[in-house]
């Protein structure tokens, strides 16, 4: 059994507005999945379904074997699947960083000593140790978003779903967030589901899933997905600039394999 099983899930916002039209997908524990798709493709709806902010109209979602449609499972699932949203300013609630990170565990009624440990561990894991007493509103966008992630991992989830966590950040902030979630995946074994508009953020993933018009249209390793340049463009998506260059070069007759993702890989092939 997979950690998350999504079976024939449909979701409609209105009678004529289907956001998801029958999605079937398995997510393994410890996997790093990136979901891309244009606006209105259903990405955010899918994210909300995973965290039981929404439940499917038909089909089912099983998290660790628990069906999200069963009311009794809601809190169990939310504890396993934490969620980080786009705007860091809407997610931070307290006046100090440590209070903010402690907010979730406090609501679970956890022992204060254990909370202290979780807060410090979480901040260490996102590279924000030492900021315990800082005011969140004085931090940079990337730091705020890492605090939001710390707040989620203080709940000890197995999985973190991030819905465009880098969309409002500058390049440095984006780097910080990507490095943080990559580390959480590698070192802590957290399952990561990362939704993004930045194609280059998909490069390090185990698997890339392309959503379009409420359906899964492509799925595979980054190299597999990004070598289909024309297909991606038909879904109004881009490919990373280096991938597109490699593709154009191979169309001009140079012998270059498909699915080149980084400058270093392409230099290797050319020199």
């Amino acid at each position: 059994m997979s950690f998350i099983e999504i079976r024939n899930v449909e979701y409609k916002y209105a009678e004529d507005m289907a956001a998801l039209k029958g999605i079937t997908l398995n997510i393994q524990e410890g996997e790093f999945t990136v979901i891309i798709g244009s606006n209105g493709s259903g990405k955010s709806t899918l994210a909300k379904l995973l965290n039981v902010l929404l439940v499917p109209d038909s089909g089912s979602i099983l998290v660790d074997g628990m069906d999200s449609k069963d009311q009794n499972n809601v809190w169990e699932i939310r504890q396993r699947v934490g969620m980080v949203f786009q705007n860091p300013d809407n997610q931070l609630v307290a006046t100090t960083v440590e209070e903010d990170v402690a907010f979730g565990p406090e609501n679970l009624g956890i022992d204060p000593k254990e909370i202290r440990k979780r807060v410090d561990d979480s901040l260490r894991q996102v590279g924000m140790d030492g900021y315990q007493k800082h005011a969140p509103h004085n931090l940079s966008g990337g730091q705020k978003q890492r605090i939001a992630i710390a707040g989620v991992i203080a709940m000890l989830p197995k999985c973190i779903v991030l819905d465009e966590p880098t969309a409002m950040l500058d390049p440095q902030g984006r780097r910080e967030v990507i490095e943080t979630i990559t580390r959480l995946n590698h070192n802590e074994g957290k399952t990561i589901i990362h939704i993004t508009h930045y194609m280059e953020e998909a490069i390090g993933a185990d698997r890339v899933i392309v959503l379009d018009n409420g359906e899964v249209k492509m799925m595979g390793t980054p190299a597999e997905v990004f070598q289909e340049v024309d297909k991606l463009k038909s879904f109004q998506l881009d490919v990373p600039p280096i991938t597109e260059l490699a593709y154009e070069l191979s169309r001009s007759g140079l012998i270059i394999p498909g699915g080149i993702l980084t400058v270093e890989e392409l230099v290797e092939k050319l020199c």
Partner: protein, 285 residues
Amino acid sequence: MLIKLENVSHLYEDQSTVAALKDINLTVNQNEFIGLVGHTGSGKSTLIQTLNGLIRPTRGKIFIENEEITSKGFDLKTIRRKIGLVFQYPEHQLFEETVEKDIAFGPRNLGLSANQIIDRVHWAMDMVQMDYDEFRQRSPFQLSGGQKRKVAIAGVLAMRPQVLILDEPSAGLDPMGRNQLLQLLIRLNKEYQMTIILVSHRMEEVAELADRLLVMNEGYLVLDDSPREVFQNVNLLEEIGLGIPQVTRLLWEIKKRGYNIRTDLLTLKEVKEEIISFTRGRELC
């Protein structure tokens, strides 16, 4: 010359030791397309706010069409007609009950006739590719994020400014939304002779669009040149955390390995041609 800054410096009151702008000298000419880049906190946002009078710099002079807007008692309203500013996430500032009213807000304050206002709204919606009849009565709050952004930009366009300044207008848009927006900027610049100042974190974006690039760091204007020249300063740009377009970085990496290749190319097309001739040359030796 349209805009001129002479020795402009600015200090924020609450952080008196940190200067947001340090001795900026700059001229902007009619119909230029300028990219403005810099790390967060480099002074970009402060700079653009001084240009339309939202911030009065603590030192130095700013001239717009030879009028000094930093002089005491200057009527800043006239400037805001000439210089349109699209803030970051401008959709957060929508407030009217219909799309049409929101876009008409600026023109109405200009004292135009009802017909002129409708013409302006219609034109602005055409420019951002929103159908007038379909959207004019809709509530802006029920639109998607990308559509809201379009309404907000249309509201600034409806003022028909000579200069359009945009602070990261493509942030958070999907690839198609971003492409549409960039095409709009090109059109405003070429067909309507609007002067464009585009603040962006995407080096690819400014490399492709701008005729001239301004680079800010710690309050200083450190580079002011064509993108081609600016992106030759690889070390400086990496040091200040900006980097260069990926395709250009590829050329530098090939050169580092001892090959003879041009590095002053920025677009995918240019780089592709250079690499093709580079590989041909190697086959010959």
